[in-house]
């Protein structure tokens, strides 16, 4: 330690030591927070939290070791160096999550950036404690010094690990959390600078840097939502016009010059450019086939687009829609961009919306419907797989009038033929006549539907006497034809609650597809 530093620090007596220990405490907290932020963020965007956490903790600890080692090359002006490091940690750590959120959608090698940031932060944090110990070493007996500094350091770490999940993530979010602690780091530097004004040379430059950094982080802190939006915008490649979260899913709406797209949990739900192809194909075959349709049930379909098609039939007296997510149906009842697409179908007096679990609702239902439209998410997990089971279809059978038709969106028969034909087989096993068909929806690819009835057979109607852009007799005839590449030779299991065969098929098929 350089002589001037030593003397000045000594002069200040106990209060200076106390102050530096407080600094240790704060920077220890900050240090752990950056690590937690990186780990959480990586798990958030990359998944597999165990791997993410373990590699990030590893890299972080290692780079702290590097920092400690490097500290021996710092000689002279230790206090000044220390303050500079505080500012650097503050800016790198503070902006880490904002940078990571923005680079994730852009960078091909996101992991590289991630570990680089973790490494740099780790090195800087690793420098802090050795430098501080050297600053304090002549004031305090070595034994005492080590014990106090490390005690305070570990208590800071404990505090960080407690408040991070309990307060910070829920209330501040990741971006603001790291910015907040970045500012704390800078403030520590700033305060030390003021406190030991006489001992550090050329304070003006450092002060100015600190101020600039602080302002930058403050601005980012205030604009954190915009950063998040930007990240989503980059991720979805189009402009995000609306984004919200319900207890069940993240709902994001994007727009480009041509179309509006809705994403649920990152999966494309529809594109305004071609959704009519999907919804006309979903709704009209069953509506046309069912005689004298007065009462219609829609399950899923919280976007109101299937309902829009149903309301084209003047004979319809009541449409019941059951969708789990109230945020979704409310959005499609009130948001002008969205109601423009669904033609305000949810505001029609004939429509009644129930935000309930479809299985539970149907089990308790005692009405019969003339036509039923089922538009659930794909069976990608066990809890959704239930909605494609024999038990569910038994309830559908009970709720469908004897001459009526129902239809089930049944994923892509091209990508997932086993899944598609498993749904078909499951419907047959409960005694339905099935009419599988498919069409091309550009933004989805080849898509499949299974229409069901208790009647022995189905006849393509001569005319689809409703205003439509896509469907007509010829299209319907085409849709019924399946080329060989959408079929499977394998005997398929029936999907039951007690075997969930469909989820297994679906995982295999879409898993393979997305790996390509």
């Amino acid at each position: 330690m350089d002589n001037t530093d030593k003397e000045h620090v000594e002069e200040r007596g106990n209060s200076a030591e106390w102050l530096l220990l407080t600094a240790v405490f704060i920077i220890a907290t900050c240090g752990l927070i950056y690590e937690l932020v990186a780990g959480t963020l990586a798990s958030y965007v990359l998944g597999d939290s165990v791997t993410q956490f373990s590699t990030i903790i590893g890299v972080y600890l290692f780079s702290m070791g590097v920092g400690s080692y490097l500290s021996k090359f710092f000689n002279g002006h230790l206090l000044r160096r220390f303050i500079q490091i505080e500012l650097l940690v503050g800016i790198v750590g503070g902006f880490s999550s904002a940078v990571l959120f923005i680079t994730f959608p852009l960078a091909a090698s996101f992991r590289l950036i991630l570990y680089a940031i973790v490494f740099v932060t780790g090195v800087l944090v690793g420098l802090e404690i050795p430098l501080l110990m050297r600053l304090l070493q002549d004031r305090v007996a070595f034994k005492e010094l080590v014990s106090r500094v490390f005690a305070v350091d570990y208590v800071g770490a404990l505090l960080a690990s407690l408040i991070f999940p309990l307060l910070l993530v829920p209330y501040l979010g990741l971006i603001r959390t790291s910015l907040f602690f970045g500012m704390l780091n800078i403030l520590v530097g700033w305060y030390l600078l003021r406190r030991f004004k006489g001992e550090v040379k050329r304070t003006a430059a450092i002060q100015l840097t600190a101020l600039l950094f602080l302002l930058a982080e403050l601005a980012a802190f205030i604009g954190a939502d915009a950063i998040m939006k930007l990240s989503e915008h980059l991720q979805f490649s189009d402009k995000v016009v609306y984004a919200t979260s319900s207890p069940y899913q993240r709902i994001v709406l994007t727009r480009n010059h041509r179309e509006l797209r809705l994403f649920l949990n990152g999966n494309l739900q529809f594109s305004s450019a071609d959704e009519y192809r999907y919804h006309e194909a979903l709704v009209h075959p069953a509506m046309q086939a069912s005689p004298q349709v007065k009462r219609v049930l829609v399950m899923g379909g919280g976007d109101g687009l299937a309902v829009r098609e149903i309301l084209k039939y003047p004979g319809v007296e009541a449409v019941t829609l059951v969708d789990l997510d109230a945020v979704m149906t409310k959005l499609f009842t009130t948001q002008p961009v969205l109601t423009a697409i669904n033609k305000q179908s949810f505001s029609d007096k004939r429509v009644k919306v129930f935000n309930q679990d479809a299985f539970v609702w149907l089990r308790d239902n005692r009405q019969q419907f003339d036509c039923i439209i089922i538009d659930f998410p794909d069976p990608s997990n066990f809890s959704i797989g239930k909605l494609y089971s024999t038990s569910f279809y038994q309830l559908v059978k009970r709720s469908l009038s004897p001459a009526g038709y129902a239809v089930i969106q049944s994923t892509s028969p091209f990508v997932a033929p086993k899944s598609f034909w498993c749904i078909n087989a499951t419907l047959q096993s409960v005694g339905f006549t099935t009419i599988p068909y498919h069409n091309y929806v550009p933004s989805f690819g080849e898509w499949g539907y299974v229409m069901i009835t208790q009647r022995p057979s189905y006849q393509v109607p001569d005319t689809f006497a409703i205003p439509a852009r896509y469907i007509n007799k010829g299209v319907m005839q085409q849709m019924l034809y399946f080329p060989d590449d959408m079929k499977t030779q394998q005997p398929l299991a029936v999907n039951r609650l007690n075997n969930q065969a469909l989820v297994e098929y679906f995982e295999q098929e879409w898993g393979n597809y997305s790996e390509q």
Partner: protein, 540 residues
């Protein structure tokens, strides 16, 4: 990763962060210890209820005990037109080891929680299941069609082994080729034995147990322990040994070094049920477990049931049986003069009520050993999940102290379950039964909570913060252990012999194997014996 998972993750982190704190300081979680009414039961043991009854009434039949055996007997008698029957049950509710409870989240079991798909030759059992809507019909091949709401939903079982969850309970993930070969050979041998018949033409391993072959080739297995048998057969894999031990603890509360090899093999080889719409290893289950079946058995017989009625003496008298019982609510000793009596209670209780207790008790002490069990119901919020197979109905930890937990909300239909009730099972089979019973009765609620959380924290690090409530029930004498010579030895037969032609025994203790089907048939057989006597002996 989606937002919801993200929130789960961070709350899991919260759990992780609190870990150091949780390790040093006991977590305070609401709940209570629900004892089977041990205090009331001990009145019999301590001979406190020996006075003269205040009232006496008459009945054709008295059934003592409202577990599955007693309820099954009652149902059988009712269905055959015998209405003048009284069932005495010491608890405030019937069900016995198949009792259940419920809270705002779900109903849940306090004991038995499932039955496997029934063997197809069990006609009475299948027709009972048909009457309560579990079997909805038969397919053209004659196989029962099960109500799929009652077949356990997939995913059914998972095992936490070598750092992650695998699908199914048979160790598979991360095991070596030699282990796998041992396991396959074992399963194959069990498969062969499930179809085996003895020289007498009977199934080698049947349900009920007493329908099994007496061919010494098989009954000889009742003289050694399961562990000895595994060793004799050259099974060395520790994974296989663990799995078999898990199974015998699960069904008999007895470890492989103690359980009879015949009983152990019976577990694997007695199930042969085939169904139209279920796989061979599927099971039937309900949120309240076999409590649901107990309710169905009780159907229409409620008038005959007296709860909080503790039988204290069963005395053969001229032309019948006098049954004394203590009415816990009115605090009165009462008597019923019956023509026939069915004792659907454990042997260690039955013996004390009979006049020849002095001869019975030494036999029981020598041959009947009851394992204590603890069952706990945990109400939990979202739990952090380790990698691998998703949360299932039955969740077992390899090498764990307990049998893991069963999710009582598994059969709930809704997609999202913000809270669940997990039923935790643990036979207390480490020390001797007597010691374990003593220890169990001394533990405080906080100590049980600690014991349970310490076990489950391995798989759910945030369990301390995510658990809202833990209720604990101690079954001090949960079941009699099928030790060597229990099933094919002489004592069981001796103790179950009807007394005087009008006192009959019906309990899973009598069967030697504690499963629903045995209890169900114990009840039927006793009821049939009773009816035979009622018909042949005219009313005096």
């Amino acid at each position: 990763m989606h937002r919801r998972e993200f929130i789960q993750l961070t709350s899991a982190l919260a759990g992780g962060a609190l870990l150091p704190a949780a390790c040093t300081r006991p977590t305070i979680i609401a709940g209570e210890i629900k004892g089977v009414s041990a205090a009331v039961g001990h009145l019999v043991r301590d001979g406190a209820l020996q006075g003269a009854p205040v009232t006496t009434e008459r009945a054709d039949v008295v059934i003592i005990g409202g577990g599955i055996s007693g309820l099954s007997a009652l149902r059988r008698l009712h269905r055959n037109g015998h209405q003048n029957v009284v069932l005495l049950e010491l608890e405030g509710h019937t069900g016995g080891n198949a009792s259940s409870g419920s809270n705002a989240v779900s109903a849940y079991p306090w004991g038995a929680h499932y039955v496997p798909v029934p063997n197809n030759n069990l006609t009475e059992y299948l027709s009972f299941l048909e009457a309560c809507g579990v079997v909805t019909g038969y397919n053209p091949a004659g196989l029962p069609v099960y109500n799929e709401f009652y077949l356990c939903s997939d995913p059914q079982e998972r095992l936490y082994i070598n750092g992650s969850w695998q699908d199914g309970l048979i160790p598979a993930s991360g095991i070596g080729a030699a282990d796998k070969a041992d396991i396959d050979r074992f399963l194959h041998q069990m498969h062969v034995w499930s179809a085996a018949k003895g020289k007498d033409g009977k199934e080698a391993f049947a349900i009920p147990v007493d329908a099994s072959s007496k061919d010494p080739v098989y009954t000889a297995l009742d003289s050694i322990t399961m562990q000895q048998w595994l060793q004799q057969q050259g099974y060395a894999s520790p994974y296989l040994h663990w799995y078999v031990d898990y199974c015998t603890r699960d069904d008999f509360g007895t470890t492989i070094d103690k359980v009879s090899a015949w009983a152990g093999i019976h577990y694997f080889a007695c199930r042969k049920g085939r169904a139209a719409n279920a796989a061979a290893n599927d099971v039937l289950t309900w949120p309240q477990g076999n409590g649901w079946l107990a309710e169905q058995l009780r159907h229409d017989t409620e008038g005959a049931i007296r709860t909080q009625a503790l039988a204290t003496r069963v005395v053969p008298v001229e032309g019948g049986v006098a049954v004394h019982y203590y009415d816990v609510q009115q605090k009165q000793l009462k008597a019923i003069d019956a023509r026939q009596c069915i004792m659907a209670i454990p042997q260690f209780v039955a013996a004390r009520l009979l006049p020849d207790a002095a001869e019975r008790m030494p036999l029981l002490h020598a041959h009947y050993h009851y394992t204590p069990w603890v069952v706990a119901n945990l109400t939990v919020k979202q739990l952090y999940e380790r990698s691998g197979a998703p949360a299932s109905w039955d969740n077992v930890i390899y090498g764990g102290a307990s049998l893991g937990y069963v999710d009582a909300t598994q059969q709930q239909l809704q997609q999202l379950k913000p809270k669940r009730v997990l039923t935790y099972y643990r036979p207390l089979a480490t020390a001797s039964a007597v010691e374990e019973r003593k220890l169990a009765q001394q533990r405080t609620h906080a100590q049980w909570v600690q014991m349970i959380l310490d076990d489950l924290r391995i798989v759910h690090p945030d369990i301390d913060t995510q658990t809202e409530r833990i209720d604990v029930m101690i079954h001090a004498h949960a079941m009699a252990q099928p030790l060597p010579q229990m099933i094919h030895g002489a004592v069981r037969q001796q103790l179950r012999k009807p007394v005087n032609g009008n006192i009959h025994f019906a309990h899973t203790d009598v069967a030697g194997v504690s499963i629903f089907e045995e209890a169900f048939y114990q009840g039927i057989q006793a009821a049939d014996a009773v009816m035979e006597h009622l018909i042949t002996t005219p009313v005096s």
